[in-house]
C-alpha cells in the first residue's frame, strides 16, 4: 500500500511527530511504502537540522531524515507555513525540502491513504 503522511505539529511540543514516525516505521516494516511526509502548520519545524535535543533524548529531525533517506521518501515542508515560522531551505535536514500545497494535493490523490497526525 502507498501511504502519505500529513504532520501538523512541531517536534517535542506535541506527540504527533513521534506517533507519525512510529507509524511510518511500522508500515515500512510491514512492506508498505511511505510516499512522502508533508509538514504543515507548526509541523514544518520538524524539518530543521538545527535541532539539538539532550543526548539522552530522541533526535526527532535526525530520525525522520534517516528514515526518509533510507526508504526513499521525502519530508516536504509547506512553503507558506515555513515562511511564517522562519524555516528556510538552508535549514533543511537531509531528505527534507520546501514545496507548495499543490504537492500535498498530489500526495492525497496518488496514494491509497493519507494519514493526518497533529494536535
Amino acid at each position: 500500500m502507498n501511504i502519505g503522511i500529513l504532520l501538523k505539529e512541531g517536534p517535542y511540543n506535541h506527540q504527533a511527530s513521534d506517533t507519525a514516525y512510529k507509524f511510518a516505521e511500522a508500515a515500512i516494516q510491514k512492506g508498505h511504502r511511505i510516499d512522502a511526509v508533508f509538514l504543515y502548520n507548526d509541523g514544518v519545524i520538524n524539518a530543521t537540522k538545527l535541532g539539538d535535543p539532550p543526548q539522552d533524548d530522541r533526535n526527532i529531525a535526525e530520525r525522520w531524515s534517516a528514515l526518509a533517506t533510507e526508504h526513499g521518501f521525502e519530508v516536504l515542508a509547506c512553503i507558506a507555513a515555513s515562511k511564517r515560522r522562519g524555516i528556510t531551505d538552508e535549514l533543511m535536514i537531509r531528505g527534507g525540502s520546501i514545496t507548495g500545497l499543490g504537492t500535498l494535493t498530489d500526495i492525497a490523490i496518488r496514494n491509497d491513504r493519507l494519514l493526518t497526525f497533529g494536535d
Binding site: 501511504i3 506517533t19 507509524f23 511500522a26 508498505h32 491513504r113
Partner: protein
C-alpha cells in the same frame, strides 16, 4: 472508516464529536492522550461501553503503557503500531485532531 482520537476526553470534546459522526461498525482507535478514555475506572468508561455496542474500539498499547493504564473497559482491544497499520490497510482514516 477508521477513526482515531488523540485527546484526553477530560480536556477536549474530540471523543464526543467523533462518536456523534462515526458510522456504526466503524472502528475507533484511541492514541496518545486519547487513551485515558478507555480506563475501566474513569468517568468515560460508560461512554466507551456504549460505543462498544455498535463499534469496535481499540487503544494503542505503547500509549497505554506510557500512561500506566492497565485496566481497560471490557471489550477494548489493544494494538501496537503494527496493529495500527493493520487497521489502516483495511480502512480509510479519519483522524479527529
Amino acid at each position: 472508516m477508521l477513526h482515531t482520537i488523540n485527546k484526553s476526553p477530560f480536556e477536549s470534546p474530540s471523543m464526543q464529536e467523533c462518536i456523534r459522526f462515526a458510522a456504526p461498525g466503524d472502528p475507533v482507535l484511541f492514541i496518545e492522550n486519547g487513551v485515558y478514555a478507555v480506563q475501566s475506572s474513569g468517568r468515560y468508561a460508560s461512554d466507551i461501553a456504549t460505543l462498544l455496542k455498535t463499534n469496535p474500539v481499540y487503544a494503542l498499547q505503547p500509549d497505554l503503557e506510557a500512561r500506566a493504564i492497565g485496566s481497560l473497559v471490557e471489550g477494548v482491544k489493544t494494538v501496537g503500531y503494527d496493529g495500527f497499520v493493520d487497521l489502516v490497510e483495511v480502512h480509510r482514516v479519519n483522524s479527529w485532531l
